[in-house]
Amino acid sequence: MLEWLWLVPALPFAGFLVLVAAGARLRRAGAAAVGIGSIAGATAIAFAVAASFAGLPPGARVYSQTLWTWMRVGDFEPAIALRLDALSLVMMLVVAAVSLLIHIYSSAYMEGDDGYARFFAYMNLFVGSMLALVLADNLLFLYFGWEGVGLCSYLLIGFWYRDPVNANAGRKAFIVTRVGDTALAIGLFILATRLGTLEIQPLMERAAAQWPVGSALPVAAAALLLGGAVGKSAQLPLQTWLPDAMAGPTPVSALIHAATMVTAGVYLIARTHVLFALAPPVQLAVAVVGAATLLLAGCSALTQWDIKRVLAYSTISQIGYMFLALGVGAWSAAIFHFMTHAFFKALLFLAAGVVILAMHEEHDMFKMGGLRRDLPIAFWTFLAGAASLSAVPVVTAGFYSKDLILFDAWSSPAGGPWLWLAGIVGALLTSVYSFRMVFLTFFGSGRHAPARTAGWRMGVPLVVLAILALVAGFIELPPTLGDRPVFTDALRAVLPPVEAVPARAADLARLQLVAGIVSLAGIGVAWLLYLRHRATLAALIQRPAPSRLHRFWFAGWGFDWLYDRLFVRPVVGFAEAGRRDGIDRIYDVLAWASQAAWRALSATETGGVRWYAASIALGAAIVTTIVIFL
């Protein structure tokens, strides 16, 4: 079955082509059948490939497939080639499975939209590109998928293009991520010219063999790759596009802006971890970026009224955890959190989508309330997702993955108390804003007549994801709770484990206790502030100082304001000032000067004999003078 691997990305691409070619002529059922069918086929093949892969002998669990040479100039010959190892296997399975669930959900969610076939075409193109990204054997082909998912993100954020707000949000997302992508491209130039290849495995081997730890080249290359990663994964300082990206349809937010594409940066760093290990300053930067981002975004999430924007900031914050893990060298912990996050965040978005549909496209949580009685499926599944996001101890998947990151942040040689503290404060923020959503949306007294309720096509994905959001953590049981680290063991061949500082490793049980208490305390705080004493909180926010802080957090710490003045206005100003092309004015002056000269000379042609005679005399006098005196 392994040789069928190429079909995994190829089927979604084929589905895209069919939908584009036949789109307008297809009925809704036909478009959904092509869209879902191609993803279902890809998912089935992915699982079959995974089964064959598991059958390989443990020492040789790698499968490469070269489809064709993309371009060959001298020694530079990147190929369209796939590579399956434990890391890409996990990514492929999660991407394929979550995509399938979200496609099924979308077929109901998008019902009644004029762009039904267009929607599935874009979604299929996305899945194909994302699978190409995670399966790519070389960085150039990875870049192909990387830009492809960025394109689909843009197309789907601006899916309802009639409203300029949506189109602007899509454009912003693409442009901001292209800033990161350009850094990544320059990183590729360094790697390709200095190490002579872009194939990931030889590249990493040569880097480790040729570059000393901490020397200039690996630091520069890793920093540029990090630039690409922060753009795609919406980390500081390029995080500003993701909250606006919520303008897209909710399934898009679930698939692209929560579960898959935004974690591509995490995947890139894990994939090239050898390079980052050669660049300790950059790795520290990864950890600091992660820690700072998770705190900033956590604070902003607390202040949003739009349920999707809370989830967007939450996504930024949770990817911050993954970056924190990468920064301390806990590569597999980052991938583990990617997986659990994909499940519970996709779930939260999809459940929020049910709420939004029921409330006639209302996003304001303060206008909701009491929906637990009207939308029971959405309520229970959202609750499971929020519990997992808040890392409620023992019974949720989020607990296991976040706990692993916190432990590694504490105990890894690259970690320490400060990074752990950032993580634990972030955990408190996380459970406060998560249950703020739960309490505002589903509790309280309001009653609503839902405009639409979830049918089976929306219900089944919700239930499946809810189960995964609760149980997926059990494949990685920490020493205190059963000690069966199946997930990290499986990834060990690709991602080396953390060598914990022995003195700090003993603190595991105490750390877990703290984390558990913090998670539950956050829920308690949310209950106090948003159910019990809502009026007190509202009064507090009216005061000047808290109100200013609230607005500052609400506006995402002023990054948009800053970038608008630093970049947007100067470029737009220059473009508008230069509309008539300043350089052309130089030629206008030339043209004007020659016309003026022509006018001056033609003015001398008066036709008057006396004037001509005088000029001849004068000219003769001047010439004579010159001849005599020079």
């Binding site: 830009e147 293009y161 350009t182 320059i186 010219t193 220059f574």
Partner: protein, 496 residues
């Protein structure tokens, strides 16, 4: 002899189209289409034949034609074709068909004469790509100018006379500089060797002092920089493009500009390798300036055609960079950029022309919300905008990536700055799509979407760009020998 036919067939078709035009509008179109199609078929035949005999080799012409012309002055009718000229002639044939097809409904006035001018300019362009005698080259170079002047001046839009005159003056003055350089080279070489000749092969080894080489190189460079166009001599281009009829814009952007790029690769670098290497930092800087300046100004435009015109300035900046970087990677990138820019920009001009036929305006402030009415046109505009911003999977990405990668070793700073152009290209490409096709619907009149003829034209361009984006190897292999020859002349670049 087939090389002569490559030039003569479109020219004769043009004459025939003119003659046949008495009373019929259909005949000139069909004759022109047949003529240029035959040309493309001959070029494809040469291509296929070249691969049967093992492909192009460095230092050897695939096909050559050499006859004395004005013997007393050492002027010969010498044509030669290698991989580089073959690719450009294929491009000329392909886009020639497109430009005839896109004029089918736009041109209703003096159809006979229009097609005569169009075929004449195509014939001259083919000739420029083949000429191996510098006098013949100059002759054909000037020959391109005249029909283009008429195409803009007769069938153009509101300010066509201004644009045509501006185009003529810019190219004529820079062409005269080249003529001076050609004549000077003729005398320098003749004086040193005793053989007075305009032959390219003989002049390649002309003994030049550093300063002579420098000035002669600048003469050639100026002519090609104006055609390319490079900042700051680009300002004729937005006017000419904006005022020209669609086919004129297509020929200008996709083919005429390429003669400048071809000139750099065929003449400036091989004839004056030392001077070119010394000049390379300045030329690369001009290329980078063009990339950024063109991209920012494209974003600022409100006239769709002007916008596309400035994207040409930006994209041709990559060609200038790649040519003077001189490494095999960068040269291959520059050649691919020549082809891909021809295809993608030609397509954008065809789409803008089709839009103007329907909406009767190109003003972005008055357009918007066209997607629901014109979904096929919107999708195609999106596709070519994405090509223009260098999306992987399309040819332009391969081209720009190779140029930047190949320039990195020569100048990392220039490469990094030029890479910013990738960001700005995103800005203008997305703005183009949004301003014309997205947003609330604003143009009230009912419009018909792209028809079969138009879909065939842009569909063929889509396929070509995707092909170059996922499997550019046939083109790379065809150009490899010519690239190796050029890279070998630049001191210290071939090994990189």
């Amino acid at each position: 002899m087939i090389l002569v036919w490559l030039i003569l067939v479109p020219f004769l078709a043009g004459v025939l189209a003119w003659v046949s035009g008495r009373g019929s509008r259909a005949w000139p179109r069909w004759i022109a289409l047949a003529g240029i199609s035959l040309d493309l078929a001959m070029a494809i035949g040469i291509w296929a034949g070249a691969w049967r005999t093992g492909g192009p080799e460095a230092g050897r012409w695939l096909v050559e034609f050499d006859r004395p012309w004005i013997d007393s002055l050492g002027i010969r009718f010498h044509l030669g074709l290698d991989g580089l000229s073959l690719l450009l002639i294929l491009l000329t044939g392909f886009l020639g068909i497109m430009s005839v097809a896109c004029s089918w409904s736009e041109i209703q006035d003096r159809v006979d004469s229009f097609h005569f001018q169009l075929m004449w300019v195509l014939a001259a362009i083919v000739g420029v790509f083949l000429a191996l005698d510098l006098f013949l080259f100059y002759f054909l170079w000037e020959m391109m100018l005249v029909p283009m002047y008429f195409l803009i001046g007769i069938w153009g839009h509101e300010r066509r006379i201004y644009a045509a005159v501006k185009f003529f003056i810019f190219t004529q003055i820079s062409g005269l500089l080249m003529l001076i350089a050609i004549v000077a080279l003729y005398f320098v070489h003749g004086g040193a060797s005793g053989v007075y000749t305009f032959d390219y092969g003989a002049l390649l080894g002309a003994p030049l002092t550093a300063s002579t080489g420098w000035w002669l190189m600048l003469g050639f460079f100026t002519a090609f920089a104006v055609k390319l166009p490079a900042v700051p001599v680009h300002t004729w281009l937005p006017d000419a493009h904006t005022e020209a009829p669609t086919a004129g814009s297509v020929v200008l952007a996709s083919l005429l500009l390429k003669t400048g790029a071809y000139g750099l690769l065929r003449f400036v670098l091989p004839l004056f390798p030392e001077a070119a290497a010394a000049f390379a930092p300045a030329a690369i800087a001009l290329g980078v300036a063009g990339v950024l300046y063109g991209a920012v100004l494209a974003f600022g435009q409100t006239d769709l055609k002007r916008m596309v015109a400035y994207t040409s300035v930006s994209h041709m900046g990559f060609v200038l960079m790649g040519a003077f970087a001189g490494t095999p990677l960068a040269l291959q990138g520059a050649i691919l950029q020549i082809l891909c820019h021809g295809l993608s920009t030609g397509a954008l001009f065809i789409l803008v022309g089709a839009l103007q036929e329907r909406a009767h305006t190109r003003d972005l402030r008055r357009l918007g919300g066209l997607w629901p009415a014109l979904p096929r046109m919107g999708g195609m505009a999106m596709f070519f905008a994405l090509a223009a911003m260098g999306l992987p999977g399309l040819g332009n990405f391969v081209a720009e990536f190779l140029v930047l990668l190949g320039t990195w070793d020569v100048s990392p700073a220039a490469t990094a700055v030029a890479a910013i152009g990738l960001i700005i290209s995103t800005v203008y490409a997305l703005w183009l799509v949004q301003a014309a096709f997205q947003g609330p619907e604003r143009v009230a009149t009912r419009m018909s979407d792209l028809g079969l003829r138009e879909m065939t034209v842009v569909g063929a361009l889509v396929l070509a760009l995707v092909w170059l984006g996922v499997y550019p190897q046939p083109v790379i292999d065809t150009a490899a020998a010519a690239v190796a020859t050029v890279a070998a002349t630049m001191p210290g670049r071939a090994a990189r």
